[in-house]
Every structure is written in C-alpha cells, then in structure tokens.
C-alpha cells in the first residue's frame, strides 16, 4: 500500500499503540483501586486493537479487523464478569483495594 509522503505510516500507529500499552501497564502497576486497574486493562486492550487494525491495513488483510471484533466481544464479557467480582468483593469488604484481597480468601 502506498502512502502520500506526509500521511502517517503504519509505524506511527504502532508507536502510538506502544505508548498507550505502556501507559496502561504503568497504571495497572501503580493504582490500587480495582476499578481503575480494570480501566487500565481496557487501555492495554485498545492499544492492541490499534496494532491489529494498523497491521491489517498494511498487509491488506481483513484478519486484523476480525481480530479486533473478537477482542471487543471478549473485552465486553471480561468487563461484565470482572465488575461482578469487584461488586461482590467490595460489598463484603467496603473500601477494599487490590492489596486487601491479595490472598483471595474471604
């Protein structure tokens, strides 16, 4: 695929995606609120989605966009179950953060 000289190339999208993924990882490691940690996982998933679409366009393959479609479905399912778990935990222990539930026991 040929680009105009000043159009962003696939590299730019991959770099943007790398930065977004690293920011998501940083947030996941730094924040202790389980809800915010979950949002950071979403950031990382979106970074991967950008990669899929960018490389799919580079290789002219529909597989990239299809992968993103399935990532979206799995992310939705993951958020539903994850938030249900968080609701259960915080209902049992109000104000719990990720360190309080590190033993995974009542």
């Amino acid at each position: 695929m040929t680009f105009a000289v000043d159009a962003p190339t696939t590299d730019w999208y991959l770099m943007l995606s790398a930065v977004l993924f690293s920011l998501g990882a940083l947030g996941l490691l730094v924040r202790r609120n389980p809800l915010v940690m979950f949002m950071c996982v979403e950031l990382m998933l979106n970074a991967v989605n950008i990669t899929f679409v960018a490389i799919g366009r580079e290789l002219k393959d529909v597989g990239g966009q299809l992968a993103v479609f399935f990532v979206l479905v799995v992310a939705a399912a993951e958020v539903v179950v994850g938030l249900a778990i968080i609701v259960t935990i915080i209902r049992r222990r109000p104000g719990a953060n990720a360190d309080d539930i590190s033993v995974l026991k009542g």
């Binding site: 977004l20 690293s22 960018a54 299809l66 993103v68």
Partner: protein, 200 residues
Amino acid sequence: MAETIVFAVAALLILGGALGVILSRNPVHSALFLVQTLFGVAITFIDLDAHFLAAVQVIVYAGAIVILFLFVIMLLGVDQAENLDIEPIAGQRPIALIIAAATLAGLMSVVLSVGDKLTGADSVTGPLDAVIRVDALGASPESATDVRVLGSHLFTDYVFAFEITAVLLTIAVVGAVLLARRPSGPIESFSEDDAVEAVR
C-alpha cells in the same frame, strides 16, 4: 496532510485520556478520561479505514462498557477522591515506572528495528480489497464497504469463532448475575463477619 492532522489529534486525545485515567484521584474522572481515550481510538480506526470498527468502538466501549463502569462506581459508592500521595507498598512506584519504561523500550525497539518493512506477505486468504469480495457477493462496487467484507468473512470462515463468542457472552451474563446476586442464607452471616473484620 489531513490524515496527519487527524492522527495528531487522535494521538493527543488517546494519550491525554490515558494519562487522565492513571492520574485522576476520583474513579469517576478516570472513567470519563477513558471515554476520551476510546473516542481517540475510534478516530484512529476511521483514519485506518476501519469504519465499522470505529462505530462499534463508540457503541460498545463508550456506550456500554464505560457506562457499566460508572454504574458500578455509583452503585458501590466508591466515587470519593482517594489520596494518591500514600504509597501502599514501599518502592512500588519506582519499580512500576521501571517496568513500564522497559515495556515501552522493548515495544519501541521492535517497531523501530522493523522499520517500514513489515514481515509477512500481503494477504491472499482474506484480502481487504473490496472488489474481490464484491464479485463473490454479486453486489455493485459502490456498496462495497468494510462492513460487507467483515460480515462475509465473519459468517463464512470465522463462523465457529462467532458462535463461540455467543456462548461466551451467554456464560458471562449468567456468571455476572450469579456473582452479583445478593447472597441469601448462610452466606449472609459470613459477609457480616467479614464486614466486622474489615472495620477493625
């Protein structure tokens, strides 16, 4: 030139939103910054000619997932600002910064070392080239959109994966209902004990 401007705006939205998610004290603000990031990603998708995915991104992510986050935040009443100055584990933040920087360095070095020469040939099995798919479907070239291309692949080559995602979503819904149901019977007494323990 226009594409570059769109890319720059989208990148600013994405990275600003991501920083907002990480740095906001209040989880509600984090969720709203997440919407900003997701809109930025949708703009990027449009820039990459993935119009269907851009629409789905806004509808599913911004419309459903973030609303679910906000529902849970409001439902649990955890929408107070937390003090970010306290570091729960000693040395956690420097180590987290080092790990994130290492991740970024690794990803960047891969992107930069590959350069413009991505490995792998152009697709022969699932081309994004609309004309080929249009001939197979017998439609006029004007109606050839990425929706048509995606749909024709989704319901032919990837139909089993598609059906399995339907099962996955059903399982997720059943699991969420089961988990979030207010416990009754003997489980209730356990939760009261834990609440007392948590207060101590």
